[in-house]
């Protein structure tokens, strides 16, 4: 399916009676990467969670291909379109990397174990496929979660601090993968404190100025 543009329309977010941002409007076209920036507590994660569908927006709307995804039938369709990887990587310590990925992918579409091994090799975890994740380092756990980016086929990626605990080589590989995804017409929204200025075509949304 061809990716469609994501539009935010006058989106607002309020937490504990404090306005984080209001009247946030922008259009994310296929092939674009959007970096959400701003100081701590400016609502970066809240914006990502609203876009993912975890948090209700206090006002405004969000549309995918012209159809609202915050209310109505568009909500279900949106679940097939976006991949959200949050702060907590959803990796179970008692399960191996392969078992974790098999389950996380099955939540949208099951994949076979050959592809999981391939994806784990791409994130630099060859040889760790059947190690329980509690024995992996924080960075390796994050890599297990990020291996989903090589396995699933959602046009929109919503990534909250994907570079946390990842080493330099891993960051470079992930940046390339994000650009490749955008090159195929996908869209990526991410928060990071790591500068992405050296990457071509990355838009930046500063919530402090917007809010």
């Amino acid at each position: 399916m061809k990716p469609l543009p994501v539009e935010l329309d006058e989106l607002a977010c309020e937490r504990d009676q404090r306005e984080l941002f209001a009247s946030l409007s922008l259009t994310l076209k296929p092939g674009e990467v959007l970096q959400v920036a701003g100081p701590n507590g400016s609502g970066k994660t809240s914006l990502l969670r609203i876009m993912a569908g975890l948090l209700p927006a206090s006002a405004g709307d969000m549309r995918y291909g012209g159809e609202s995804v915050l209310r109505g039938s568009g909500r279900l369709a949106w679940r097939q379109q976006r991949l959200y990887i949050g702060h907590a990587p959803a990796v179970k310590g008692a399960l191996t990397a392969e078992e974790n990925l098999a389950w996380l992918c099955a939540l949208s579409r099951p994949v076979d174990s050959d592809r999981i091994w391939e994806a784990l090799a791409k994130v630099g975890l060859r040889g760790f496929e059947d190690v329980p994740c509690q024995n992996l380092s924080a960075g390796q756990k994050r890599r297990v979660a990020l291996a989903r980016l090589y396995l699933e086929h959602h046009p929109v990626w919503i990534l909250d601090e994907p570079f946390t605990a990842i080493d330099k080589a891993g960051v470079a590989a992930l940046e390339q993968h994000i650009l490749a995804h955008a090159g195929e017409g996908g869209m990526v929204v991410l928060t990071t404190h790591h500068g992405l200025d050296h990457l071509p075509g990355v838009r930046c949304l500063d919530l402090e100025q917007a809010g």
């Binding site: 969670r49 993912a52 569908g53 975890l54 948090l55 209700p56 279900l76 679940r79 097939q80 959200y84 949050g86 702060h87 907590a88 990587p89 959803a90 990796v91 179970k92 310590g93 008692a94 399960l95 078992e99 098999a102 389950w103 996380l104 099955a106 939540l107 949208s108 099951p110 329980p132």
Partner: protein, 223 residues
């Protein structure tokens, strides 16, 4: 759909078997409470027999309560629940599978152990089928109602006490019906009425609780 149910079941099994401590906790608690009573009140069979229904049911109830707090907690903390909520698959179905698994680990295991403890408390053999039947109908209700409380308190740092306060009043009908059936059986009276009421509660909980659990988890995750 069938595949996701199966995969979730396998995942829960693996998680349970790799942390056998969590698995055994409620069972050991159940066994300890039931086996301490004869030591405390003396081995007089007539005394034990009158107390047995109450002791077994209260122990089963508290053992279930003990295991509830951890039901969704680890999935909440490591972000797994977020992914469940975001999945295109119905959350209600996934939580039902999770509760069924929880029941097999606690309720069903207690049902299997119950005849042994029944005999230890001098229950006559003719009453044991009634004990099994009431536990088999009652423990799923305990797990399902408890999961509603666990879902509502999942976002709280120490929800254990609140969970007990929320859930215990809802457990009382099951406790009364379960022990009532046992008392009736001990006196040789029919137990059909109690069994039908327990069955009603079980069917009601099985159909409605998954929606309440899913709604509670959605609220917990969006906090």
């Amino acid at each position: 759909m069938r595949r996701i149910i199966w995969l979730l079941f396998c995942r829960e099994w693996r998680l349970a078997w790799r942390r056998p401590g969590d698995l055994l906790n409620p069972l050991v608690f159940f066994a300890l409470v039931v086996s301490l009573f004869p030591l405390a009140v003396g081995p007089e069979p007539s005394v034990l027999r009158t107390m047995a229904p109450g002791v077994i049911w209260v122990a089963a109830l508290l053992a279930t309560l003990l295991s509830l707090d951890g039901m969704f907690r680890s999935d909440y903390e490591d972000g797994s629940l977020e992914q469940w909520v975001l999945s295109p698959h119905p959350l209600e179905l996934m939580v039902l599978v999770k509760v069924v698994h929880h029941w097999m680990m606690s309720g069903l295991a207690m049902v299997i152990l119950a005849p042994l403890f029944g005999m230890m408390l001098a229950l006559p053999g003719s009453v044991l089928p009634v004990l099994l039947m009431t536990l088999l109908l009652g423990t799923p209700v305990l797990s399902l109602l408890g999961a509603v409380g666990a879902a509502l308190t999942v976002g709280l740092k120490s929800g254990g006490l609140l969970l007990a306060l929320l859930i215990l009043p809802l457990y009382i009908p099951v406790l009364i019906l379960g022990t009532g059936a046992m008392d009736a059986a001990l006196q040789g009276m029919p137990v059909t009425g109690f069994a039908l009421w327990l069955g009603c509660l079980a069917v009601l909980a099985l159909t409605l609780a998954p929606f309440a659990i899913a709604a509670g988890l959605r609220i917990g995750v969006s906090e």
